[in-house]
Symmetry: C2
Subunit: 356 residues, 2 copies
């Protein structure tokens, strides 16, 4: 339906350039909503507010509890209630300051408040900087599954400051690396080779490596989204490992795994299946990097029948067929729609054995 | 941000062509959600379902209570819960069968379920056929005001059958005429002249007049929306009478007035102000038609202070200024942003006097 030519305006710049990013997005308002979570507010809330005030943007901070459970209908309603009680207008910008949960939830609030107010994403986690802040997907979870309610809504601007990543807990950092690895595997063999070379430095968050890898990995996402904003084709490859991951997250209960951990586990499953489908594909080279991402034990205790049921509810299901993203060489992915359930069950059994 | 060239695919055709409309929208699904209300379900629910089944579209009917109170967060959640429990996929179409309440609510559900499923509007009221089904505005009410949460979401197709209007209660019919008159006043003097000529026949729902007027009035909306999908300019003129109307509906309590009745009252206020602002404008000629729309008494008992407060919460407010649509000749409207509050208060006093 939509046939727009899009560009995705990411500024890789320090956090205190936020007012300039907002103004260069054409916003003339004198007030600004900032939605964040308690962890991020403690680290960067004051800095953000202090940067906005002198530039004539009175901030109104909405601070939510951290964690996936926040991506709920109730929290969405809370943001809307508070924004409307404060008295927003159509030109009032909303800044989503945080990781994927804040970005998805606050982005959906921006998409639906007054049928859409200007949205700015300020991603503070690695996952958000290279993946979730890019591409306009917003939404909340539903008891039937993750991200089942939402909207495509373009941010006016994205401000990405890799220096913020120093404050990430280790588990969030390694979870983000899973998505970075995914971008290399599906669409950029040069990125993957760089990861192979610098994996130690990345685990240590070596500053110069991080400052090079973040824009590189974000660029992969930008390229794919620009070709397929509304996920009618190519964009599906970004779901490499994700159909497995969503099932793991759902069956284990949201919060047992980080999204990145579930994706790492899901990619190991998808690589196994990829090797089965493409003779000669060097899954071991790929898996050698993926399995560096620590995944908590527990997958082996989940019911394969439950995991299969959860997969069938995934949004990527088409007319009852489970479609999976596989890769046939490093840097190239494709969608396979013809995979028998029995094979997927065997893949789960492999993953349970391999991951524990 | 968006710079799409849009077209609005309306089929003026009998209700039983619905399956053809869905298929010509490129939908390949074998199932179909139908959202409607109890009144419409009683009249047309069976006919719609019976037309879908033989064309390979298994319908799942969601029937809601009639009335503005249905445009709520709770009913939205109910539609989403039931749709997800039934097991929709991204290609499953949703048919919004009803008036403006059903169209706005079910349209918003379609916009946000799985981040957007194919939407078909089947408007069954005059307001919906000439106005609310056209232009992609969807949404729900909030305690802070009407339509404060929503999305712009294009239907794949609109099926408009003027024959359905025979079953409308008189009050719904005359309410719809208010929007038809509005379209003439703001953008089509030929339509307004036709209304002057055929007002009696329209009140009698003369078949041939209705079949000519509905597409004519719908065409005015199409023209305006195609020039300004996201309401950044021209589209604002469609709100002629509406800033007053929204305030009336809110202060009187939703349901005391139909939307069309409130718009008729709001247009009388806006015409009065238009005459004040444009010397020589023949407000009496316009008002002669507008005042034919019956409006229940009670406006005079509302507090002008409350009405003013409600206006200031309207989405069209920009940086605290109340902007109003006025007309300077029949068939031409403009937005005035420089109207002092005292003048608006006087206009409310006039409307209370004139309408009672």
């Amino acid at each position: 339906m939509h046939t727009t030519t899009m560009s995705i305006p990411i500024s890789f710049a320090p956090l205190d350039t936020l007012p300039a990013v907002i103004r260069s997005g054409g916003v003339e308002a004198d007030r600004c909503l900032v939605v964040t979570d308690e962890h991020v507010a403690a680290l960067y809330g004051d800095a953000v507010c202090n940067s906005l005030v002198p530039k004539g943007l009175e901030p109104h901070l909405i601070v939510l509890p951290p964690g996936e459970a926040t991506k709920s209908q109730d929290r969405l309603a809370e943001i809307c209630d508070r924004a409307l009680a404060w008295g927003i207008e159509r030109g009032t910008p909303l800044v989503a300051l945080g990781g994927g949960v804040v970005g998805d939830l606050a982005g959906f609030a921006a998409a639906t408040l007054l049928r859409g107010i200007p949205l700015f994403q300020v991603p503070t986690t690695l996952v958000a900087q290279v993946d979730s802040s890019i591409g306009g997907k917003t939404g909340i979870n539903h008891e039937a599954g993750k991200n089942l309610i939402g909207a495509f809504y373009r941010p006016i601007g994205i401000l990405t400051d890799p220096a913020l990543l120093k404050s990430l807990p280790t588990r969030e950092w390694t979870s983000g690396l899973a998505e970075v690895i995914k971008h290399g595997l599906i669409a950029d063999d040069a990125l993957f080779t760089e990861l192979e070379t610098h994996m130690e430095a990345l685990f240590d968050r070596n500053e110069s490596v991080v400052e090079r890898i973040v824009p590189h990995a974000a660029g992969v996402k930008v390229r794919i989204v620009c070709e397929d904003e509304f996920e009618t084709g190519l964009r599906a490859i970004l779901n490499f490992g994700h159909t497995f991951a969503h099932a793991i997250e759902k069956v284990a209960g949201y919060g047992a795994y980080t999204h990145g951990e579930a994706v790492a586990a899901g990619m190991r499953a998808a690589l196994h299946l990829s090797e089965y489908k493409t003779a000669g594909f060097d899954a071991e080279r790929a898996d050698r990097i993926v399995r560096r991402i620590p995944v908590p034990p527990g997958l082996a205790s989940l019911s394969i029948a439950d995991l299969m049921d959860a997969m069938k509810l995934d949004k990527k299901v088409s007319r009852g067929n489970i479609r999976l993203v596989l890769i046939d060489r490093i840097g190239h992915a494709f969608v396979a729609g013809d995979i028998p359930s029995t094979l997927i069950e065997k893949t789960w059994a492999f993953a349970q054995e391999a991951i524990g």
